[in-house]
């Protein structure tokens, strides 16, 4: 058995939580590989720079397959990525701090309007169970309702498979002011919540 760990939010951990690499586990290199991406850690979405690391047989098998498929990422991007990892090693901490304060703005705000969600320990997303007064709706219906009545777009949990039904996902991709505006909108669009 091979374990594939998609380590997309490697550097986005909150409240002292540091996401572990699977390769820290004893014997991991015998059975595990990990994908590390610069997209979130260095906010380089669209640059298309990621890595497969770990078990050498698996890594070399992918190298061989890819040698038939591509000639690599455009070299200036590889050079820029190299220098960034070496010389902007602290940048992921800044990114993490930004997502951290957005998470707090969102969750504290939702709590005030009567929508309680446990604080996630990492990533740039917050998953929320559909609040009690609205559980007759599935996640697509609930999200459609929110676009129409609250002017806020969220991702329906079912988009991530049947295990996501009953939940919605917030992405922390707007600044705190915009998040607060979103919460005010949600309060208006969800009148059956009991505000604190």
């Amino acid at each position: 058995m091979i374990v594939v760990h998609d380590f997309a939010y490697a550097d986005i951990g909150f409240d002292g939580h540091k996401p572990p690499s699977i390769l820290q586990a004893k014997g991991a290199k015998e059975c595990a590989v990990e994908l590390y991406s610069m997209t979130k850690s260095f906010s380089m979405a669209g640059w298309r720079v990621a890595f497969l690391v770990g078990n050498r047989d698996v890594v070399q098998a992918l190298v061989k397959l890819k040698s038939y498929l591509d000639y690599g990422t455009f070299q200036p991007i590889q050079i820029a990525a190299t220098v960034t990892m070496n010389e902007a090693a602290d940048y992921p901490h800044e990114i993490c701090a930004a997502y951290h304060s957005r998470r707090d703005a969102l969750i504290d705000g939702l709590e005030r309007i009567g929508w309680d969600i446990p604080k996630p320990k990492g990533s740039m997303f917050v998953w929320a169970q559909i609040p009690e007064p609205y559980r007759h709706m599935d996640s697509v219906e609930f999200c459609s309702h929110l676009v129409r009545e609250a002017e806020v777009a969220l991702s329906p949990g079912v988009g991530f498979g049947p295990g996501g039904e009953g939940f919605v996902r917030f992405a922390l991709i707007e600044n705190e002011q915009r998040i607060r505006q979103g919460i005010a909108n949600l309060k208006r669009g969800l009148p059956n919540l009991t505000a604190r």
Partner: protein
């Protein structure tokens, strides 16, 4: 025309919400979009500078190396040492990929064949479901629980007993949400 890998793909549910959003925006409504996980924070200044500088050098206007320049792989090894105290062999244990999705999709081609299965948490990113399916393999989706659920920490051991383990098999994990940050460990 009928294309084996394309015809049975379900509609991407995010397009439903996106359609409503686009419609509302066209009508002049300022919809706050917290749906699509498209990072808004800028790339580091040094990345942009080096990209511009290297792009002006004609020597860089050729095909590069699929697995990544040696210095790039060395930078990854240094980053893993620094962040997680993990030692990686620069020659054998690291390869560049054209983003995670490219790496993941082709990795599924490497690892899986018809009759194989991938264990994938649910919820998960669509690519973790369709990557194995495109490679011709089967899926075993394992429900994850919310952090507030007292059973959350027993999740994996509990479900493993219920999954018919047909080797060869791969397990895919990702901290897609608060849920799996707790469980993937």
């Amino acid at each position: 025309m009928d294309f084996r890998r394309i015809t049975n793909l379900p509609p991407y549910v995010f397009t439903i919400i996106n359609g409503l959003k686009t419609e509302a925006r066209r009508a002049g409504v300022d919809v706050i979009d917290l749906g699509f996980g498209n990072p808004d924070l800028p790339s580091p200044e040094i990345a942009v500078e080096k990209l511009a500088e290297a792009a002006h050098n004609a020597r860089n206007h050729r095909y590069s190396v699929s697995r990544g320049l040696p210095k790039l792989r060395e930078a990854v090894a240094a980053l893993y040492k620094r962040n997680w105290d993990v030692d990686l062999d620069v020659e054998l244990e690291i390869t560049n990929t054209i983003g995670s999705k490219e790496g993941f999709s082709h990795l599924m081609w490497v690892l899986l064949d018809r009759g194989d299965a991938a264990i994938v948490p649910s919820p998960s990113y669509p690519i973790h479901i369709y990557g194995p399916l495109f490679a011709g393999a089967d899926l075993r989706q394992v429900p994850m629980r919310s952090l507030s659920d007292p059973l959350a920490r027993e999740d994996w051991s509990f479900h493993f007993h219920t999954i018919p383990l047909v080797p060869p098999l791969i397990l895919i994990s990702c901290n897609v949400s608060s849920t799996s940050v707790a469980n993937a460990r």
